[in-house]
């Protein structure tokens, strides 16, 4: 099975030949990968180089923690790639982003107001949790289409606080 895998601005063509061998950019690489915890931890022997890796799936992409560095990896197999290329003719909608509470806490401030235009990095909500104030920032430019909480409200993990369009 052939894959097109992107890390940052680099794309690798990786072919999984067998359980113990892949071909990366034309080069055959013997390997052995085992799961350590049957969940996210793996031990990978790549050409006998030993790596301990944590792989988390997050929204279709993979977050790979390796030697203290975090990589966002997008893996596409051949079929998906062809489909995606065909779809690229359409303009993809930006989509609303729901800013959710990363953990339970208390809303202490809401600098964002409905209708406000914000830039990437602007503070939208301040959530007090674990004895510290945590600023939740806009992940990209946009406009605040909805503010779903009020000050002094206690919120649960993953509760939507602000919707960014």
């Amino acid at each position: 099975m052939k894959y097109s895998t992107t890390v940052g601005d680099r794309t690798f063509v990786i072919e999984v030949n067998r359980e113990d061998e892949v071909t990366v950019e034309g080069e055959v690489v013997p390997l052995n990968m085992i799961s350590i915890d049957q969940a996210t931890a793996y031990s990978l022997l790549l050409n006998n180089d030993s790596h301990e890796i944590l792989v988390d799936e997050e929204g279709g992409d993979y977050q790979v923690l390796l030697s203290g560095h975090l990589f966002n990896v997008h893996v596409e197999d051949e079929r998906t790639r062809r489909l995606a290329q065909a779809a690229r003719g359409f303009t993809p909608a930006s989509g609303d982003i729901h800013i959710k509470a990363p953990m339970p806490g208390l809303i202490v401030a809401i600098p964002a107001t409905e209708g406000q235009l914000v830039k990437k990095g602007d503070v939208l909500v301040v959530l007090e949790s674990m004895k510290m104030e945590n600023e939740l920032k806009a992940p990209r430019d946009g406009s605040v289409s909805a503010v779903r909480v009020i000050s002094r409200q206690i919120v649960e993990q993953n509760q939507t606080l602000v919707v960014l369009s």
């Binding site: 969940a39 203290g68 560095h69 990589f71 007090e128």
Partner: protein, 500 residues
Amino acid sequence: MFTKVLIANRGEIAVRVIRACHELGIKTVAVYSDVDRSALHVRYADEAYHIGPAPARESYLRIDRIVDAAKRSGADAIHPGYGFLAERPEFAMVCAEMGLVFIGPPASAIGAMGDKAVARMTVQKAGIPVVPGTEGEGGLRDEEIMAVAPTVGFPLLVKATAGGGGKGMRLVERFEDLPRALTSARREAEAAFGDGAVYLEQVVEGARHVEIQLLADQHGNCIHLGERECSIQRRHQKLIEESPSPIVDEDMRRRMGEVAVRAAQAINYVNAGTIEFLVDKNKHFYFLEMNTRLQVEHPVTEAVTGIDIVKEQIRVARGRKLRYTQEDIRLNGWAIECRINAEDPFNNFLPSTGRINTLSRPAGPGVRVDSGVDEGSEITPYYDSLLGKIIVWGESRPEAIVRMRQALREYRVIGIKTNIPFHQAILESHRFHGGQFDTTFVEQRFSMDENIPEELPRVAAIAATLVAHQRGQQAAQMVRGPSRDMSNWKLAGRSEQTRK
């Protein structure tokens, strides 16, 4: 002489104190909230009492419930740990009233240093230089602060008078930002300490945070145990500490030590305490504040002096004279501590909650791990995010650094995010190696994204591809339907039977 100590705390420090007590043959009593029933400190103690729901205000900060647990267990002494009630003079007073020995300084000393504005005034009178800022006692209203701010000069720091641990502090660059900073600082201080009073301090450019560990007995003896360098901080929270400090030589140590001892004696201090100094680019040091309790980073001092500070705290509380004179104190080798927090360094250090599914601690010569959590522990949002500390000792600073790097590699925590990658990145940085950093280093001169080894992206790509491939195969199998509709054990049993 007390024989049973109640530890009014939780997490790694409670475990630490329990350890010291047991070594001295003292029985221990733990207290726990709803979410701490399976915590390590509860399991290690000789007795454990439930004291309330998860929020600290309803459990670990409830003086009445803690004293009640002491009475019921027959504890005759209390160790407050750090944070929570450790620096509340009323707690020390209640203990005294109830005939419980408080393992720490007298309430008067806690009070004298607890209000940071009063503390500055007190040591100034003793001829000790302080970081320039607002004069006089605290309790200034916003209007008064706005009026005096220009004299202090910008940039300045708004700090909580009841503060500590870096909470309730805001850096203000311009006058226009001051009102918002005041509101924010007051709010955080109110939540953390129950007191929103603030004072102002000048920002000392290129300052390093160097503190001196003190030990004083009830007989008037007071010594210092050398310094700790604590400039690797983020949002005023210490992350990496070391002893000795790369910028302190014998002479400076002696001078800082003398000043620290003088400050402690000015308030008749007893037991363990720490004087924090800011050191400017010219190696002038200024009193910042005094912490009248055991500190998180005490292990680095223990590593280089060979002294068990918690056991000494207990001995002092039992009325013993200090076993050491200043001449006995020698710093040997180098120690570094990394605070492991449940925070995601790749996402603005947002706290992480959840269950620790896997935990592997580092080990080896010169490696110490003080942990409050275990495999299966639930990390909740009710308390701070400290999971534990790695402390390494080496014969030299370079050896300590490589030892810590190896320890960080071995420390595996799965189930929640930790700041281990952050520590790994700092330990790789040239500036850290050279000992050239001040308190602005982490926030201004350091980035997580630097120095990514060339071959890693390819390895990451291969790993993710293999995982995706594996998951794709499993999904395909499930869609196709199992080739057998019975378990392997059943199959094997059947074939055994048919063979007979």
